[in-house]
Amino acid sequence: MSNSKFSRRGVLKTGMVASAGLALPQYLRADAHAGFTNAPGDSEVILGFNVPQTGPYADEGADELRAYELAVEHLNGGGDGGMLGTFSSKALDGTGILGREVKYVTGDTQTKSDAARASARSMIEKDGAIMITGGSSSGVAVAVQALCQEAGVIFMAGLTHSNDTTGKDKRANGFRHFFNSYMSGAALAPVLAANYGTDRKAYHLTADYNWGYTTEEAVKSSTEAMGWETVNAVKTPLTQTDFSSYIAPVLNSGADVLVLNHYGGNMVNSLTNAVQFGLREAQANGKNFEIVVPLYSRLMARGAGANVAGIFGSTNWHWSLQDAGSQAFTRSFGTKYGFPPSQAAHTTYVQTLLYADAVTRAGSFNPCAVAEALEDFEFDGLGNGPTLYRGADHQCFKDVLVVKGKENPENEFDLLEIVEVTPVEQVTYAPDHPQFAGGALGTCNPGA
């Protein structure tokens, strides 16, 4: 029995279709001589875009998919080239990847680890995808990352913010461009201290799962380092929709800041509830009561409507950034779809470009060669200033945006304003930082 493990139909489709219809069992060893899973044929290469298309994050997934389609168009030389023109590496020239036309398959993660892995496996086993990317939650990212490690393909994470993705659950085949909980805390704390003072008492409401835990820890430790005190931290169930019973006691708890370690639907609901309770207008300890949302998503902020006004948070990227890369991306995305891209769209677009660039620089699709090209790669012009893809944990280090909900948004996309661009030095940490302890990258797996 052969040990081809993961099939590679891509080749068969393009290269071997011509084999005559002889009823002879053919022993497929193409991967053996290529040396890695799903080695592409000579004319095309297949990428797998695995995003939530059903469930609460479906709109985010749809935006990711738009960005992927745009990236593929640019890689194949279509459109206005977007960030290809501003990217510091000039290896990509709009002729696909290593001369092969970029094709893609799509799948639905349903924001469930099982479904996401099923979808990723079908892309690898059935469609011959050489790289998997996407996702809109850390649970899914970690699950798919582990699968890609096992299968021997590269995983370029989409929107995943938990420390664990490049912390205790990091994998040699997985790479993350998006920022993480630690960076949110490190970027937010100085801004919060500058705006609200160093003598503050914080009350945390935390989503009761891994991402919530790492975010609470990050924000807690960096605000406490600024002199804040944490009065209480209460875990809320993932499935909670009405947060009134968690928010009602906040005002009388002695706290004067409420930190909502919630994302997506949880964030929309808890923030809406908090504003209903009048927390934004309230006074406590002789100060104005404040609300903080560590991770902002513009798409989700829309669900909270006017409630976000004046509330601080952090974000990976925002379309109103003025650098050439961001402008180029916003322009080509906006021209194609008629509205500005979200941070999820940005990170997935950039990840696709980074992957293509790494393959081109490495001169090979072999995951180990690609990983080597990505490790400790320094680049610029992709929207977040000079960036380092650190080899020790496969995390990107770049500037982080601290944003605030706009008081008078002009339209439904203009919800956040950038308060500060926190420089990369301030959010950099050692690979063995306690918040990222445990787990090991291991070695890269080319599969086959």
Binding site: D59, T241, S245, G265, Q276, G278, G303, G305, T330, D414
Partner: protein, 343 residues
């Protein structure tokens, strides 16, 4: 002490939402004997009546403002609601602000119509079919309704605020002699509470004091005998289905400002409302209402941080734990009737 009063208040409010949804469900499920997995979808449709109303009221035409530019550098197209053209900006803003209360008026006929169509077109044919078939068909219907809403409105929550007159909280603490801010409650949630009580009272009064209600109650108890008396019970059951849909829809409309509606909010409530109905006891309207309030209050208590510190995770499971305890100690829930859905 103030913490307890606060959470009881909270629980009453949560409970009124549960009770209202469970009331509609039990009208169908506990009395017509139909397992209606689409009930959550009716609740969601109600909330989207409010969303649609506020969209209709802000229906706009575009005016190009040459002085400003959009994000791509083109001249900005400012959207001007038609309602400004008709009533002027000031009046227009007030009307838009009151979109949710206005949509109550629209929701009643819309939801009754949806209920009628559902019952006549689909559910009617499933009264005599096994519960398994009812589950499959109503679950399929719920998915279809959800997906249509998702197709039209997207997957993200849509903010549907209450009129600005109801923003902010009422301070019960001061009234009861506690510190300021100890017991606060948002005005809109108080409105929701009294609204729910009103609807619940109206449904009970309708069943208790009208001839129609009397016949329906008789039909629930013994459908065949009532049929033998020459009364067209089927027609009345259709009307009951319409009423149940309207109750679910109204619960949804009023809930829209509390949590921004999204297409899957019905599924989120579905399981919970089944638990409430069954804990209340099959076939008992007062049971459903009582169970709604009971579970709401206990859920609120379980979310107090002192309780969570003592029993980590209790806030995750309290409703199910209480359901198990009640069903094990009282075989038919709080007030269930014998023989309803026991096979």
């Amino acid at each position: 002490m103030d913490q307890f009063i606060l959470q009881i208040l909270n629980g009453l409010d949560k409970g009124s939402a549960y009770a209202l949804i469970a009331l509609g469900l039990t009208l169908i499920f506990g009395t017509l004997g139909v397992v209606n997995f689409a009930h959550g979808a009716l609740f969601m449709l109600g909330a989207f009546v409010a969303v649609t109303m506020s969209k209709l009221l802000t229906l706009s035409h575009k005016v190009v403002d040459e002085t400003r530019t959009d994000f791509l550098g083109n001249p900005l197209q400012v959207e001007v609601p038609y309602i400004y053209d008709w009533f002027g900006q000031a009046t227009g803003d007030v009307i838009i602000d009151w979109a949710v209360p206005i949509s109550i008026i629209a929701a009643i006929p819309v939801m009754i119509a949806i209920g009628f169509i559902m019952e006549r077109g689909l559910i009617k044919h499933f009264y005599k079919r096994p519960h398994a078939d009812q589950i499959l068909v109503t679950f399929g219907l719920a998915i279809v309704i959800q997906e249509i809403v998702k197709y039209l409105y997207g997957a993200n929550p849509i903010p549907t605020p209450a009129p600005s007159a109801f923003v902010g909280s009422f301070d019960f603490g001061v009234a009861l002699g506690f510190d300021p801010n100890a017991i606060i409650y948002p005005y809109w949630r108080l409105v929701y509470f009294f609204f729910s009580i009103g609807i619940i009272a109206a449904v009970f009064a309708f069943l208790q004091f009208t001839t129609f209600g009397m016949v329906v109650r008789a039909g629930m108890a013994d459908r065949e005998t009532v049929g033998l008396l020459g009364i067209d019970i089927d027609k009345r059951f259709t009307i009951m289905f319409g009423i149940a849909a309207a109750v679910a829809g109204l619960a949804g409309v009023m809930y829209a400002p509390i949590n921004s509606p999204n297409y899957h909010m019905g599924m989120d409530f579905l399981v919970l409302s089944f638990v409430v109905v069954v804990v209340g006891g099959m076939g008992s309207l007062p049971g459903a209402v009582a169970a709604g309030f009971l579970l709401g209050i206990l859920e609120s208590f379980a979310s107090m941080s002192a309780v969570i510190d003592f029993l980590p995770g209790i806030n995750q499971i309290i409703i199910y734990l209480v359901a198990i305890i009640i069903l094990l100690t009282r075989p038919r829930g709080l007030m269930g009737r014998k023989g309803v859905m026991e096979e």
